[in-house]
Each structure stands twice: as C-alpha cells, then as structure tokens.
C-alpha cells in the first residue's frame, strides 16, 4: 500500500481535511497507520457484561464496509472490542487467539478476564515504540461471576471500570454514560442498580445518538451480552448516511 492521493498528510491525524492553501513544500512520508473509525462501548453489571460496537468500516470519505463488527469473542466469558486501525485490530486479535490457545494447552484451563487484560497490556507495551493503533475494551465476567470491564490505551495502560466508551465517538458517549450509569453531575437522584434490560436499552439509545453526531459511526449496531449462560448477540440497524 503506497502513497495514496488522499494521503495522511492531507487529512491530518484524525481524518479531517486540512485547508487548501499553499503552506510551502510538503513532504509526503509513508504513514503505516490509517484511521478506520468505529466506536466500541462496554458496560458491566452485577452478573452480566455488555460489549457493543457499530459495524461501519470507513477510511477518509469512503465506507469500506457496512458489516464489519468490532466485537471479537475471545472465550465463553470474555468479549474484546477494538476500534482504530483495522489492520492492527486484525493482527492483535490473531495474536490474542494464539496466546489463548497456548495458555489453554500449557495450563489446561481457559484464561480468565483479568488474566486476558493483563496479557493484553504486555502485548500492547511490547510495541511501545511502534504501537498498535487500537483502542481496546474487554468486557466479561470475572471469577466471581460479576461483570468486569477493562479499558486500555493504545500502549497498554489499563484498568478495571464499570463502563467505558472507546473509538471515534468516545468523547461524546463517555459523558452520557457518566451521567446515566454513574449518576455523576446530578444532585438528589436515587442510585438504582443497573438491570440487564435497562443496560441494553441504554446502549441502543447511546449508539443512536452517536450515529447522529459522529460521521464514522453508523450502519448497524452489534451487541454482545455476556452472562453465565453464554454470549447472546443482537443486531440493530442504525443510520446509514
């Protein structure tokens, strides 16, 4: 993949076009990264976890695919959502799958969500000087059966949360989640624990809002609901424009 006409230089870092005026000779350098858009979200409840992502794969002004979900099932109790550069997402999930199999064959048990999170952190940090351009969020059940969400930055810093949004619309969705799930910035409200149905409905509403305001989010929504019975998937259509 060589230099394209609409190269990274014209687009700047996050896909927004730069102004057209002569600013001196530009040096075009091959950039190994591309931004393919997409948003991921994960919510942890008392005994469930939800990982949701949109299914649009875009680059610049084009849409490559309307059906490219960003949730990857790792084990029966863990789902990984990754958005950012699609090439790195694919390679990273292949590496994680291989490491999961190796662990299973050496230790005769499946990796737990916490262990997968710690392993992903070291995998990402081993590429500290040429990072995977991926925003990861792991959602699953911990050893006690409670919902767990682990969110990562591209170089491997991570921690356990109750809810997290990542990807192109993350800055829009995170405050909404802070307010609705964390009851932040509100006075005098009763803190009701989150049920599974309310959480699913909230996730759908939140993605509909994201599709309205973020151009890289849309087409369809894939929700993976992780409970002790297994992983249930739902597909909901979103705006296609």
């Amino acid at each position: 993949l060589g230099l394209k006409m609409l190269s990274a230089q014209n687009f700047g870092e996050s896909g927004k076009m730069k102004e057209y005026h002569y600013a001196g000779p530009t040096e075009h350098r091959f950039s190994p990264y591309a931004f393919n858009g997409g948003t991921v979200l994960a919510v942890a409840g008392e005994d469930f976890a939800i990982v949701a992502s949109d299914t649009r794969l875009s680059e610049g002004y084009s849409i490559h695919s309307r059906d490219s979900p960003k949730c990857y099932k790792l084990t029966d109790t863990t789902v990984l959502g990754c958005s950012g550069f699609h090439g790195d997402c694919l390679t990273l999930t292949k590496i994680i799958d291989a490491r999961l199999k190796m662990y299973k064959h050496s230790n005769n048990k499946t990796m737990t969500s916490g262990a997968i999170a710690a392993m992903l952190s070291t995998i990402l940090y081993s590429r500290r000087f040429f990072p995977y351009y991926v925003y990861n969020i792991i959602g699953g059940l911990d050893e006690q059966g409670k919902g767990a969400v682990y969110s990562f930055d591209p170089v491997g810093s991570y921690q356990r949360d109750t809810y997290k949004a990542g990807g192109s619309a993350s800055a829009m969705l995170q405050p909404l989640l802070d307010n609705q799930i964390g009851f932040k910035n509100m006075e005098g409200v009763e803190h009701v624990p989150l049920t599974k149905d309310k959480a699913v409905q909230l996730v759908k509403d939140v993605f509909v809002s994201a599709a309205e305001r973020d151009v890289y989010t849309g087409d369809a929504l894939r929700i993976c609901i992780v409970t002790k019975e297994g992983i249930e998937e739902q597909n909901i259509p979103l705006r296609k424009d």
Binding site: S14, R127, R128, D153, V155, G156, S157
Partner: protein
Amino acid sequence: MALEDICNFKDKPTHKTFPFYASEDTSVSVFTEAFNFKWRGEMTSKKASDVPLEFHVPSLFKRPSSRASHSVSVRRPFPLSHGTTTLGFIFQGGVIAAADTRASAGGLVACPAVHKITPIHSHLVVTSSGSGADCMLWERILTREIRLYQLRHKRRLSISGTAKLLSLMLHPFKGTDVCVALTLCGWDKLIYVCSDGARLQGDIFSVGSGSPYAYGVLDRSLSWSLNKEEAILLAREAVFRATHRDAYSGNNVDLFHVTAEGWRQRQREDLKEEYYRDMEKRGKKMDLTGLFS
C-alpha cells in the same frame, strides 16, 4: 513471567529486540511476532540491568548510525495519557505520599479515577507521573524484580537499592520517548527516579504538571514536627490547590501513609466537596451552579 525465568525458559525471538547495538542490521518484517513464549533453556545468567521485556522496533527508516536512541520512531496518530500532581514528604511520623487521580490524553480526560500510587511491598509505595502506560508497566517490572530478588537472596532489597535497580533498567531507554518519573516512598526515605537518568534522595518531592502549585503550599507549612493529622491535611491541601489551578490534574486525591509498620491507605476523596467547603469557609455565598455573589 517469573516462573519462566526460574525454569530458564528462554527463546531467541525471530526479530531483533530492543535494546540493540549499532552494528546490527535493523531490517525486520513488520508482521513478526513480539510475544515472549520461551522454549529451551539457556545457560546465560540474567544481569541486573537486563530489561525483562522485549520490544519490537520499527525498521522503516534506515539510518547509517542505527543507535536505538536516535529517532527510530513512528509518528503516532494519538496522544498518550500524561499530566498529574503527585507529592511525597517525610516528617517525624513517617512518609506521606499523595496524588490526584486524573489521566488526560491531549485535551480529553481519558480516565478520572486512576491509581497513581501503587504499593510495591509492605514498606514501599511508588507514586508515578509521566506517561500512564509507561509508569504502569515499569511498576510491574519493578515489582517483579524486587520479588525475584527477595526469593533469590532471602532478604528484601533496600529502598536505595530498588532505586538504583530501577534507574539501571531505565537507562537503555534514555533518549526515547519513554517518560517515567517515579517517587519511591519508603518508610524512612524518599527517592525520585526518572527516565532521564536522575536518581535523587530528598525530604520532599512533588512531580508533574501541578507540582509548582503543590510546592508552594508545602513549602509554607511543612516542618519535621507535624503530627499525623496535620501532615495528612497538608498533603490533601497541596493536591487540592494544585488540581484547582492545573488543568491536567483533578478529580480525587489518594493518600498513603508509610511508617515502620507498613503502609496505610486513606480512602479516596472527591475534591469537588472540598471545593464547596472551601468556598463556604471563605464566606462566599454560592448556588449549586458555582456562581458566587
């Protein structure tokens, strides 16, 4: 990780790892694997300065002097988390370590509830500032090395020794954009170690973008003879003032108190309440939206 080393599981990975030397050719395929799965044993003993983590270095730019520290780096399209206020000081009742809990990436608050103070063992606590991922991983590496030392030598490494070990491990990465500034808070001394190579012992340290504000508050009231409650209040006040003035610090304050008996953690406190209490104390009437008459 530790078990593999004890069993001498080592493998020569298929790609060149970092740190490497000028004479080696750095051309590698971009798709080679970077994991540490190890096979047959090797008889080489691990030096204390070996970095127990292997890094994949991009070979996009062939330079005649291919020293690792000279700009063999890919331009990153995303910001990393940075910005903080941490402080530590020593007084007659031990050592206090305090920090805010905000991690910012560019202009976005990536996480409002990060743990910047981590216990390494029962008598050593480390406060971190700089890049979030670097600090987290280097603390993990340091904890691992300290534990291995304790298992191999049947005694715990001293705080000065820990600081020296960390400094030696960070040295190969000097000049790269690894950004780590840790303050090791033991029960009787404070040592500041950073990835530029500094290793300093002192009585009071504050690190991060909010440190000038914290130093102002601390220098005014700090003395050796404070009692425990006064010291805790002082540390809290310093972090609060720094978060008020520094955009990249905020949210909550974490506080640890380390004594000869070990460390104790105070419950994390939201500074929003503290702000309102402070405003009331100064006699300003406020409504809930924060405008005052």
